[in-house]
Each structure stands twice: as C-alpha cells, then as structure tokens.
Symmetry: none
Subunit: 195 residues, 4 copies
Amino acid sequence: MTTTLRADAARNRDRVLATARALVAEGDLSLQLNDIARRAGVGVGTVYRHFPTRRALLEALAADAFAALLDQAQAASRDDDPWAGLQRLLRSILLGQLTEPTLAEVLSTSPDEDATAPTTTRRGELAALAATVLERATRAGQLRPGLTLDDLQHLVCGTAFAARIADAPDDRVELYLAVLLAGVRAPGQGSSPPA
Amino acid sequence: MTTTLRADAARNRDRVLATARALVAEGDLSLQLNDIARRAGVGVGTVYRHFPTRRALLEALAADAFAALLDQAQAASRDDDPWAGLQRLLRSILLGQLTEPTLAEVLSTSPDEDATAPTTTRRGELAALAATVLERATRAGQLRPGLTLDDLQHLVCGTAFAARIADAPDDRVELYLAVLLAGVRAPGQGSSPPA
Amino acid sequence: MTTTLRADAARNRDRVLATARALVAEGDLSLQLNDIARRAGVGVGTVYRHFPTRRALLEALAADAFAALLDQAQAASRDDDPWAGLQRLLRSILLGQLTEPTLAEVLSTSPDEDATAPTTTRRGELAALAATVLERATRAGQLRPGLTLDDLQHLVCGTAFAARIADAPDDRVELYLAVLLAGVRAPGQGSSPPA
Amino acid sequence: MTTTLRADAARNRDRVLATARALVAEGDLSLQLNDIARRAGVGVGTVYRHFPTRRALLEALAADAFAALLDQAQAASRDDDPWAGLQRLLRSILLGQLTEPTLAEVLSTSPDEDATAPTTTRRGELAALAATVLERATRAGQLRPGLTLDDLQHLVCGTAFAARIADAPDDRVELYLAVLLAGVRAPGQGSSPPA
DNA sequence: GATGAATGAGTGTTCATTCAT
DNA sequence: CATGAATGAACACTCATTCAT
C-alpha cells in the first residue's frame, strides 16, 4: 500500500500550508517559496512539487475559505426573499475576504490568470450562484440598473479593500456592507426589503 | 552662487520625474530607482539624492494630481448645496485616483507611513476640506449615520480599487460613483439632493 | 519464476529507451533522468535501476547503432581492396555518428570514462576491425605515414563534428568524407584506389 | 577625472577575466558567473555588469586570441603563393582554437547566436580574409571543387575537435593539419605547392 | 552635487540522487 | 522490482543601497 507514503506527502503539504498560513496571518502575503520551505523545515523542492507557483499556493490557501463561501452562496441563492439573498451573498463574499486575505487576492484577480483548475471551477460556481441571486433581485426591480455580475464582484472586492485599509477592519465591515448594499439597491426602493 | 548648480539639479529632478511618470503611464508602478536612473540618463546616486526612498518618489509623482485635487476639494467645500458638495468631493477623489495611480497609492496608505512633509500637509488640507463638507452634509441629515471622515476616505479608495480591477475602468467609474454616493447617503433621503 | 517480473522490467526498460530516443531525436541530448522517467510514465527509481548514470543510458541508446556499425566494419575489413575497405570503414563510422548522435558522443569520449562493459567490448571489437583495415592499407602503402588507429578515430569524429555544425549536415557528409579520405591517403597515391 | 574609477572597474574586469581564464585552462568551459565571481573575490553583480551573459564572457575571453588570429589571417591573405596562403590560414585558425578553447567555441557556433558586436565584426573580418584566400586558391585550381567558405570553417573546427579529443593534442596538430590540407586540396594537384 | 561601479543579500528555479514504502 | 516524494546543493539573475571619485 502506498497509504503511508502518501500520508508523508500529505503531512509535508500540510506543514507547508500551515507555515504559509502563519505568514499570511502575520500580514505577509508575498508567499516566497524558499522562505516558506525553510520555515517549514522542508526542502525547496518539496514546496515546488506541491505548489509549482506562488499562485498555486495562494489558491490552495484560499481553498477552504472559498469552499465555505460557496456553501453560504448556495444558501443565499435559496433565500425566498431576493433582496435578503443578495444581502447574504454580498456579506458572505465580503466577510470571506476579510477572514482570509488570500481569498481577497484570488477574487480580485482576473479569473484566467494562471488559475488552477479547482479555483476556476469554484469561480464558475460562485458566478453561477451569484447570477441566480442577481437575476432574481433584478426581476424584483431591486437592483440598480446597469450593474452586471462583474460589477457586483468588483464592488464587493472594493468594499473589502476599504475595510482592509481601515485601522480596525472588523469594526467597519458591517457599516461598509450597509453602504455597499444601499449603493447597489435600485434607487427609490427604500433601504430595507419589502416585508 | 549656486544658482547654476540648482538649475542643473532641478533639470535632473525633472528628468527623473518625467521618466518615472512614463513608466507609471505604462502601468509599471514598481518605481525601481536603478531602472529609472538608467532611462533618465542620470546616475543612481542622483535619483537617491532627490528621492531617498521609493515613497518619496511616489509622492513627488502624485504631487501635481494631489494639488489639483485640493483645488477641486476647495471648490466642493464651497458648494452651497451640502449634498452636491459631497458629490463633487467624492467624484474628485475618485477620478484623481484613476487618472493618477500614484495618488491612489498615496491615499490608500496610512498617513504616517514614511510620508514626506508636503504629502502630510496635503493630506491634512484634504482632511480639513473634507471635514467641512462632511459636517455640512451631516448637519443637513444627508449622510449615513456612523460614517467618519476616515470611512469616507476608505470607501472612496475602495471604489477606485473596484474600478481598477474592472476591464474598462473608465466605463465603470460613474456607475460605481453612483453606487458609492447612494451608499453613503442617509437612508430615506432619496437618491438626489433636495431641490 | 521471475519470468513475468523480468518481462515487466524489460518493458519498462524499453519504454525508457523509447522515450529517451524520442528526446534525442528532437535534438535534446541532455538525457535528464527525471524528465525521461516522467515522460515514460515510470518512476525515477526505475530509470536509475536500469541506467545508473547518464552515461549508461547514453550507451544503451547507442547500442543498436553501434552493433550495426560493427557489422559494416566487419564487411569493410573483408573487402579485398585495402583502400576500399578503409573507405567503407570511415564512411560507416561517419554516417553512424550522424544518424545516431549518441554514438557520436560515445565514440568521441575516452573509452575508460565510466564506460559500461558492452560498450567497452564493442569499442574493442571496432578497434580490432579497424586495426585490420589500417594494417592492410598501411602495408599497401596507401595510408599517410604516422597515422595511428586513434588518429583515424579522432579524425572521423572531427569530420562528424564538422558536418554537425553545418547548416545542412546531410548535404555535406559526402564532401567532408572525401576530404577526410584524401587527407588520410598517403601523399602521392592519387585519389582513387589502384585498379 | 574619472580615470581612477575606470581604473578600478577595469581592474575588476581583468580579475574576472583572469579567474575565468584560469578555469578554462583547467578545462572547465562552463563559465558559471556565480562561481567566477566568488573565486575572483568580487560581487556577482560586478560580473554581471561586465558580462551580462555567459556568451559575453566567452567572447571576451576569446577576444585577444581572435585578434591575433586576424593578424595572422591578414598575413596569410597577403602571401604570394595561393596554396601557402591557405596553409597559413588554416594552421592559424587551427592553432588558435587549440591555444584558446574559448575561440574554438566561438568559431564553432552560429555567428548570429547572441554574439556581441565585436565578435560579429571579427567574424566578418575573418570571413572576408578567408574569402580572399579561398578565391585565389580556387582560381589557381588548387582547391577541391565544391568547398565553400563555410565548409572550410567547419572542417577546420572539426580538425580542432579531432585534436582536442586526442590524448596529446599538441603532438597531433601538425599531422591533423596535414590531413586537412591534403583533404581540401584539389585532387591531382600533388601534396605540395608548385615550386 | 553628480556619477555609476560595486556590493551581496535575496529570490526563483532546476535537477541529480536517495530512500522509505 | 517499482515507485515517486523528498532533498538541497547549485545555479541564474535582480535590485536596493552604498561610496569612492
């Protein structure tokens, strides 16, 4: 059986990820593969084997958060109330980015830029779910005319950026989210969903 | 007299700035001093003399755009209509960032981070003008409660970020600006200023 | 019985050789064992088991061509006409090198340099046959005085080198071969063998 | 004055060249810039400043020998006797390559492959001189028909290769040169120039 | 003031070889 | 026998910064 070997490999992979996560948590998003290898007590080659590029590592780091985000987006897309669905969706994307900076970088980049397959898939899934939410809100006349799916994505990334440059991001998110929501809501629709 | 020398120095400084500006215009924000020196036909030491750090050069590059922004902010602060003033202020800051990427970087960074004196001064002036606008809008009940001066700055930087990651930023600014304005407006105030 | 295992091993060996051959045919003589293993769909260890060094693989790749060369050398050594024999020998060695670059590398290297047993054997056989041809040509007074067996080998390798750096080696071989033959012929013997 | 500074730079350049030359003399033609820097007691950057690529260093190492070769080629081209001229030319090119292995590599490579300007110039000059010699020998009916300028170059490089793989190259050159000369001489012209 | 050569730490990447499974 | 993960030395190249002239 190759289970044990694979277990070793998996353990190394995890060590690399853990090390990288620690660096990200310290605010270092540079993800230098040499540095990470050294800190993880692992050969450079090992890091390169698992993550051939900085991008691959970045996406691996974002993977869990992205998966969780998809779950929340799924739930949001099932909300009966179109506006509530949009609210939930945008809040999820926003909080996801603040919780996991790597997810912010992944979402702020053009999808076709060296992206690995799983990330491309996830982005597609997120887009599909978001399209549903968007369409329902649009049909309900609750979305500001002219806003596309891409616009929503850019705007929520921008809102995350705004929170990130604040001194205490966590204290600001909800307020900034409220601004975003009020901003994307169709003018004349009021600020809260119809009861 | 050192006049001649100063003239030479000034010419060198201008050459460096022009070269750096050209690079920025080409989308290269890295501002590598060696590279700039070579292209400017000037010694590295000369660049270092005028701009001891990347930050110093960045702020010098942003200076003109920042000055122009201050003028517009001044005008905005004098607008009779509080909401129109806010609109003008935010549009100016937003467009300034898109026109001059260095200004975006300057404004998106914490003020006390290696900032040079002129930039610190300008930021103070901008803050003062914005405070005026903010206060008037607040007094008129037109600003979303809870938003501070800093919040406005972060949000407008976030909006610039959103535009920047769009495929065609210029086509998106006005829409994103509308979103921002609607977002920061006090709920229940409608989307246009009272006549 | 280990027959089945041996069959597997032989198949792996063949796959490695085929892959390596393909690379050589594409002009890549670097013979990187990792690369070959990956392309052959085989573990690196397997490649190492069969070919412990780059040299071992190189010689294995050259083996068939070397064997064919020995056949031709045999025939040449049986030619009644001493000069014709020499001609045939040198042409065979020359063409062999151009057809199979690995053979060129094998023949251009000192025999005792990490050579594997089969190659050492083959080199010995080739030397023996060449010695025969050489001796007969010498006895017939047709070989330039002073030329040893080694000299002939070096010169034919040099001629192969000359052809290789030409733009269209195949168009040049015969001419270069004629130069070589005229060069090694004893001065005053004319350019064609006595009738 | 910048003389002293330049002197320093020149000294460093010379140190690098001397170090590289020593390595070449030891038979190491790999010319690894890092290694050379370390041995020369100089920063890597210094080596890169003077020689941006391995090729640049190679050609710098070959420069003197190439210049000397050009002198000899010039002399050869002025020889009254066409055949003597050819003899002198080929001997010079051959000995030049054996004395300076870097020259062999330079001459054995396609001229347009990353070559620096001076080398391109020198190759042009050598070709011009060789063309003269070739033409005169051809007109005198002394050159084997079909041989072009390029052929001569390839053949002399091949001869150098032959000598290089011999155990005692120096003892073999003259013999190999004789072979080359007899080979390129028009058949039926005898082995020595007309008196 | 200006110059630009020099530095060398830093970063990215490859690859031959080993060895536990 | 086969596998392929792991290793880490080795190599290529960059660039911010210093400093002698």
